[in-house]
């Protein structure tokens, strides 16, 4: 187990370095002159040259790379050309919003996906199974930005049950962040009204974001449950008189959860991808919206910062998933 962990962490470190290299390469394939971008649209020749020196863009590439890495190690992601703000500070502000959205969406996806998958497997080939199956395929095929617009139209505009967009009401002053996750912060402060407000705002985007994830968790969990329920150890446990409820929710589900866990790790990445679309639709002030608006403005540093942060987050989540494998599977612990 110790060796397994050591290997896993070493691999993660290597990947992190690779990720830094990747963003550096992408930044340098840009056809536009970064110095010209940095100096602004009205800059003259001398100003561009000055910017080039200022940002170290006149140095050879290896030296630039070294500087890039040392800056990153100090949490320095560079400056946004458009706003002049520090990208690192922007990321610190926007990332909690995205994380909160993804966490809520994943919670919805997990609870609904696992329970529907379990029911589907228990009532295999019943009408319930057929409906969830159709639902699962749709969940992957629905364009999230379009589905988001439809939900906005239905629940916010026509029914008026939920707010259209944003994280909290326009007239509400956002509180000083503790964790940056509004739902958690409002609970920590004991502010019930704020909690309700954040919950009503996060509901629609989280549902849109969770749907593809829910669908694939459902599919995997269903087929794994069907498999597990057929297994010899379930027959034996039944023969030994284990209660049916416990048989399904512990003996079979635990086995079905191993492959489901792998999908959860993968889908977290998909979800991070979709935040780009969902945050655009719902004006959710997270890294997705930040990346999109910066990319449209040709503002390069923020996009690279988001790529790094999202990649890092995806890596960490997969690391956690791998560790959970060890918790769930005693055979791995001893390996």
């Amino acid at each position: 187990m110790f060796l397994y962990l050591l290997r896993r962490f070493a691999l993660a470190g290597l990947m992190l370095f690779g990720l830094v290299c990747l963003t550096f390469i992408i930044a340098n394939i840009a056809p536009a002159d970064p110095a010209a971008l940095a100096a602004g649209p009205d800059a003259g020749r001398s100003q561009i040259e000055q910017a080039r020196r200022e940002y170290g863009l006149d140095k050879p590439l290896p030296e630039q790379f070294l500087r890039y890495v040392t800056d990153l190690a100090h949490g320095e992601f560079g400056r946004s050309v458009a706003s002049g703000r520090s990208v690192g500070r922007d990321l610190a502000r926007y990332f909690p919003a995205t994380l909160e959205l993804c966490l809520v969406a994943m919670t919805i996806g997990l609870i609904a996906g696992i329970s529907l998958g379990m029911l589907s497997a228990l009532f295999k080939d019943s009408w319930l199974d057929h409906i969830t199956r159709i639902f699962a395929v749709s969940g992957i095929a629905l364009p999230p930005f379009w589905f988001g617009l439809l939900l906005q139209l239905g629940f916010a505009v026509w029914l008026g049950w939920l707010p259209t967009s944003g994280r909290i009401g326009v007239s509400t002053e956002p509180p000083d962040p503790i964790t940056g996750l509004l739902l958690v912060d409002s609970l920590l402060r004991g502010d019930g009204a704020l909690f309700g407000q954040s919950l009503s705002h996060i509901l629609l985007p989280a549902i849109v974001l969770s749907l593809p994830c829910l669908a694939s968790i459902l599919r995997v969990n269903r087929s794994e449950m069907v498999e597990a329920l057929r297994a010899d150890y379930i027959t034996a446990a039944r023969a030994h008189g284990v209660a049916p409820w416990r048989l399904v929710t512990v003996h079979a589900l635990k086995n079905a959860m191993l492959p489901t866990l792998a999908i959860i790790g993968l889908r977290w990445g998909w979800m991070m991808s979709s935040t780009v679309l969902v945050e655009t639709v719902f004006d959710w002030p997270g890294t997705g919206l930040y990346a999109v608006s910066s990319a449209i403005a040709g503002d390069f540093k923020p996009v690279m910062g988001v790529t790094l942060i999202v990649g890092l987050n995806f890596m960490l989540v997969n690391l956690v998933v791998d560790l959970l494998y060890g918790v769930l599977d005693p055979r791995l612990r001893d390996a």
Partner: protein, 286 residues
Amino acid sequence: MAASRGLRLAAWHLSRSFASMLGLVLVTAIVLLALLGPWIVPYPDDVAGSVSLINKLKPPSAAHWFGTDEVGNDILTRVIIGARLSLLVGIGITFAAAAIGVPLGILAGTAGGAVRETIMRVTDLFLSVPGLVLAIALVAALGPGIVNAMIALVLVWWPGYVRLAESKALSIREEPFIEAARVAGAPSLRILWRHVLPNSLSPIIVKMSMDIGQAILAVASLGFIGLGAKPPTPEWGAMISIARGYLPDWWWYAICPGAFIYASVLGFNLLGDGLRDILDPRSNRG
């Protein structure tokens, strides 16, 4: 008891094939629309982008089934014309990604050693950044536009094929018939061509079918956020992006393009699912 069970079993088989049939029908319909588009649309003049402001933003009616857009063009016409672009782009991205990924994957799986290690680590690297985020970073570097969006998506998509082809090649390498061919003195390139490629083809075909749908969705997504095709190109995602500005009063504008994206992605996914049942029944779903 026996009869009801028999009925249910028949219904199950029907529904399974029903899903695949639906996929086939949807895909055929999209392909037909893409091929015949200009000749079957109700308002061929609107294809080139005529302006008729008297007709702008009309609700759905007998004359305009899905209403008209902000310059008075028939929405259905523009969406049908958009099918060709979406389909070509989806197929193009998928084939290009497979053309890069599959040879690399087979090479990694058969060569082993340092070659495999290098190819697989680079692959892992690309897979470590969630797809659309990486695509946006690439488009931001290359500049917006449909061609750059395609290039970015190919760069995002190829590693998946490396993974798949490598695992297939690895498992086939262990098979006795490859051993036999090697012992018989067949040159390794010939072994690759004659044995490894055909045997890893089924899962690759299934993945490609699914990926065409996902690529159509990805291109529309980039179009929607303004990094892909630019209006007035009749691209579904870009159309929804404009339609968004006319919500909620002219809500029907967004319905038609979105429904077409949904139908095509659903079609390719169902078809892929059906193909998997036929070609590759033992593989895991997800």
